[in-house]
C-alpha cells in the first residue's frame, strides 16, 4: 500500500543516543517509562490510514517539572520528543518517524484554577474538553471549542482545533490567553498573561498554537471561558441543494444573526446518519443550526433564520429549546464519522478537510461530490458551513489498491480546488505528516522559508516532533 501521506525523515534515528536517553529516563521515571511494543504502537498514529510509526519509549510525566526533565534529557542526547494527548489527531501528528520519546499527558489532567469573574481558567494539557466542561458546569461556565473527539486541551491547542462552535466562538487561537511550554533548550517559556488582550511583544501564544509540538511542549494553558447561555434553541432545516443551504448560511451571517453552530450535512451523510442514529430526516442537504442567548433572543434568531431559509427554498426549520431533542440532534452530528461506516461495513474512514471562502463553498462541495460520484467512492460530506470548512469522510476498502489510489487522487484534487479558491489545505485537522506536501503551494516559498527559519531558531537540533509541518 502506498500512501499520499509520506513522513519525512530529515535526520536518521540514532540508536545509541536513543538508548542513552532511555537509560537516563528510566533512572528518573522508573516504571513511568514504558518501552513495550504494544504501548509504543498505541502512541504512534492509530486513528487514520497513515502508517503507525511508534516511538522508542513512552513516558508518563506527573507534573510540568517532569516534562521539563524529559525534554532536557532528550535534548542532551538529541533525541526527538513527541507530545501525546489523546491520540485523536488525523494527520499523523503523533508518529515518530525518527523514533524518540512520546510524552503522554494523561496524568497532567488537573484544572489548576478557575477565575469565574474573569471568565478564564488554567489547566494542565492532559485535561480533556469534556472533563473541563464537567468541572465548569456548576459555575455556569463552559469552554466552547468542540472538535468532536474528547481531545485533550493541550492537543487541541497544538493543532489549532476548532469544530462546530467556531462560527460564533472562534478556534483555539481565539480562546487561549496564554500557555507555558518547554522549549527545545529545556527552558519553560510563559507566553501571555491573564489580561484579555496585550500588545506586549511577539505573539508567542499564537505561534505555539497550531505548531503541533514542533516548537515546544505545552505544560499548561490559560483558557477563555464563556457563560452557559441562558437559552439554547436548535433544530434542522432541509434544503433543495447544497447551494441553497450555503446561500442561506451566507445571508444568516451577513445579517448579523449570531449563530452558534451551523452545520451542513450532504444527502449522503443524512442517509448514513438516519441509519446510524435512528432518525428519519429527509435525505436532502440539511443544516443543523443552534442559537445561544436570552429566551427572547434565541426565539427571534430562530424565526429570522427560518425566514431566510424559506427565501432560499429551504424548510421547514424545526427548532426547539428542549435539551433532550437538541442533544439527540447534536449527538447524531458528532457521530457523523461513525455513521459513515454503515454505508460500507468493514471500510476504513479516511477523513480530510479543507476550508474556503464561504462564497465558494457550494461550488467546492458540489465539485467534490461530482468527483466522488465519478470515481464511485463512498464519501459523505459534513461542513462547519459558517466558516467555509468541510470534511470529506471517505469509506475505503484498504485492501483495494486501485481504490486507495482513487482516494489519494480525490484528496489531492480537493486540496488543489480549495487552494485555487483562495482557501486552505486544512481548516482544522492540521498538517502533521499528511499535508506537508501542500504547504508550499498554500503559503509560497518565502513564508515557508520563514517557518523553517523559526523552527531552526527555536529547535536547532530538530528534536521537537520532527518530520511534521516543515522539514528542516
Amino acid at each position: 500500500m502506498t500512501l499520499a501521506a509520506q513522513s519525512v525523515t530529515p535526520r536518521a534515528r540514532d540508536p545509541k543516543a536513543v538508548e542513552a536517553a532511555i537509560a537516563a529516563l528510566a533512572a528518573a521515571f522508573g516504571n513511568r517509562l514504558v518501552t513495550s511494543l504494544a504501548v509504543r504502537e498505541q502512541h504512534g498514529n492509530t486513528f487514520t490510514w497513515i502508517p503507525n510509526e511508534p516511538p522508542d519509549a513512552v513516558v508518563f510525566p506527573q507534573s510540568a517539572d517532569d516534562v521539563q526533565q524529559v525534554v532536557r534529557i532528550c535534548a542532551a542526547h538529541r533525541v526527538p520528543v513527541i507530545a501525546f494527548g489523546t491520540g485523536t489527531s488525523l494527520e499523523g501528528h503523533v508518529n515518530a518517524p525518527r523514533g524518540g520519546i512520546s510524552i503522554d499527558m494523561r496524568d497532567l489532567n488537573r484544572v489548576l484554577a478557575v477565575h469565574a469573574e474573569d471568565l478564564d481558567c488554567m489547566v494542565e494539557p492532559g485535561v480533556t474538553r469534556k472533563q473541563l466542561n464537567e468541572h465548569l458546569r456548576d459555575q455556569g461556565l463552559f469552554f466552547p471549542i468542540d472538535p468532536g473527539a474528547d481531545a485533550s486541551l493541550g492537543g487541541m491547542a497544538a493543532t489549532r482545533a476548532s469544530g462546530t462552535n467556531a462560527v460564533r466562538y472562534g478556534t483555539m487561537k481565539d480562546n487561549v490567553l496564554g500557555l507555558t511550554a518547554v522549549l527545545a533548550n529545556g527552558e519553560v517559556a510563559t507566553t501571555g498573561r491573564r489580561a484579555k488582550k496585550s500588545s506586549a511583544g511577539y505573539d508567542l501564544t499564537r505561534l505555539l498554537i497550531g505548531s503541533e509540538g514542533t516548537l515546544g511542549v505545552i505544560t499548561s494553558l490559560t483558557l477563555k471561558l464563556h457563560g452557559i447561555p441562558e437559552a439554547i434553541a436548535g433544530g434542522h432545516c432541509p434544503f433543495p441543494s447544497v447551494e441553497a443551504a450555503c446561500n442561506a448560511t451566507i445571508e444568516t451571517i451577513q445579517s448579523g444573526i449570531p449563530v452558534a453552530r451551523i452545520e451542513l450535512l450532504d444527502d449522503v451523510q443524512v442517509k448514513a446518519t438516519n441509519i446510524y442514529s435512528k432518525l428519519s430526516l429527509p435525505e436532502t442537504p440539511m443544516l443543523f443550526v443552534e442559537f445561544h442567548g436570552s429566551p427572547a433572543s434565541v426565539a427571534e434568531q430562530s424565526e429570522r433564520f427560518s425566514e431566510i431559509a424559506a427565501e432560499h427554498g429551504g424548510g421547514p426549520f424545526e427548532w426547539t429549546t428542549k435539551a433532550e431533542d437538541r442533544t439527540r440532534l447534536w449527538q447524531a452530528r458528532h457521530d457523523a464519522a461513525l455513521a459513515c461506516k454503515v454505508l460500507r461495513p468493514g471500510g476504513q474512514v479516511v477523513a480530510t478537510d479543507v476550508c474556503v471562502p464561504i462564497s465558494r463553498l457550494a461550488e467546492c462541495v458540489t465539485e467534490t461530490q461530482r468527483d466522488i460520484i465519478d470515481r464511485s467512492l463512498v464519501a459523505p460530506i459534513v461542513g462547519h458551513v459558517g466558516d467555509g470548512n468541510f470534511h470529506v469522510a471517505i469509506v475505503v476498502d484498504m485492501d483495494d489498491r486501485d481504490e486507495i489510489k482513487a482516494v489519494e487522487g480525490l484528496i489531492e484534487r480537493l486540496t488543489e480546488r480549495a487552494l485555487a479558491m483562495e482557501g486552505t489545505c486544512t481548516g482544522e485537522h492540521g498538517i502533521g505528516q499528511g499535508k506537508m506536501k501542500y504547504l508550499e503551494a498554500e503559503h509560497g516559498k518565502p513564508a515557508l522559508d520563514a517557518m523553517r527559519a523559526i523552527k531552526r531558531a527555536l529547535d536547532p537540533d530538530d528534536i521537537m516532533n520532527p518530520g511534521k509541518i516543515v522539514a528542516v
Copy 2:
C-alpha cells in the same frame, strides 16, 4: 530632561552605508525620496513625549513592488527601514534611533477588493480605518477596530491595535485573515488566505501582527468585515464608584450580554469631557455603553444592563437608538485625550496603558488614582473596561523636571501594579521604545530569548525597525 523611555542602539549608524542607500533610492524614486529635515522630523516620533529621532530619508512608495525595492536596497546596504502609517503610535514606534529610511505608506491607500459575501476585504497598508469604513458603508459593512486615531490599517496591524469595540469584535489579531509583508531578505511573504480559519502551519499572520515592523513591512492586509448592525442602542450610566462600575461590567459580560462597547470614564475625565464637549454629565465614574443587534435585541440588552447597573447602585442608564445622540456621546469619548488638556492648558498629554484581569480592574484603577492624587498630578483615566484595559492620560508641564520624574514614577508603578495582577504592561499601545524595559518582567527570560531568536532568524542584520520591542 531624562526620560523613562530610552531608545536602544544595538548597532551604530553607518553614515557611508546610509549615503549609498540614499543614492540608490534617489536613483530609483527621484523626488519621491525626501531628505529635508522638516519631513524627516515629521516621520520620527511626534505624538508623545519620547524624543524625536528622525530617519535619514523618507521614501513614498506607490506600490508593493516599490516597498520591496526599498527594502532590497536597504538590505543590500544594511540600513534600517521603518514603516510609517499615520505616525499616531504612542511609544516611539516610528523613531529611527540608528537612522535609516522611513517608508511612508501614504500613497498605498487603495481598497483592493471587497468580498461582501465572505465578509472580507483586501487593502493596502496606508488605507485608514475611516477611509475603509466610508468605502464600505454603501454595502452595509464595517470594520470594527477603532483605536481612536484615524490610524492606517497597516500601522494598526503592526501595533496590534484595538480600542472601544474590542470587547465584542476583538483586536487586530482577531480581524486580520492574512497579510503580505516584505521580509528582511527582500522576499514577499504571504501569510494566510481568505479562508476564515486554517490549521496549515505556523501562524505567521499573528506573528507579524504586533511585531511593530521589526519582522517585516506589511504591504497588504486581508481583513474580516462585519455587517452594520440593524440597530444600535447606547447611552451613559453614572456609578457611585469605579468599583461599582467595574462590578456591573463583570456581571454584564458574565451574563452573556454581547455588549459592543463598555467604556469607563473616571470622575476627573468626566469633568474634562463636560468642559471640552459641552456636556453636563454628573461628575462621578461613568460607563458609556453600546449594544448592537436587532431592534428587539438592543432594547432587551439595554434593559438588562439597566437592571444590572441598578443592582450595583448605578443609574439611571439613559439610552437611545438615535444616531445623533449616540454620535455626540462617542465623539466626546473619542475626544477624551484632547479634553484632558482643558484641565491644564499648555500641558502635554502623556498617555500610557495597561491591561489586567477584569476582577482586578477596580483595584488597579483605584490604586492608580490614589497614586495620582498623592503626587498632585493631573491624570484622568478612561478604560476599555470590558477588556480590563485602561489609559492614564497625564497632563504634564514638560518644563518641570520634578514633575516629569513624578510622572515616570507613576508609569513605572502602574506597570508594576498591572504585572503583579497578572496583567500586561500594555493592552494596546505596544512596546515601541517606551516599554522595552518591562518586557522581561512581563514575559520572563525564556520567552524573551525566544522572541530574540525569532528576530535574529528573520532579520539577521537587524534592519527592520531596530531598537524596538527586543534589542538583539
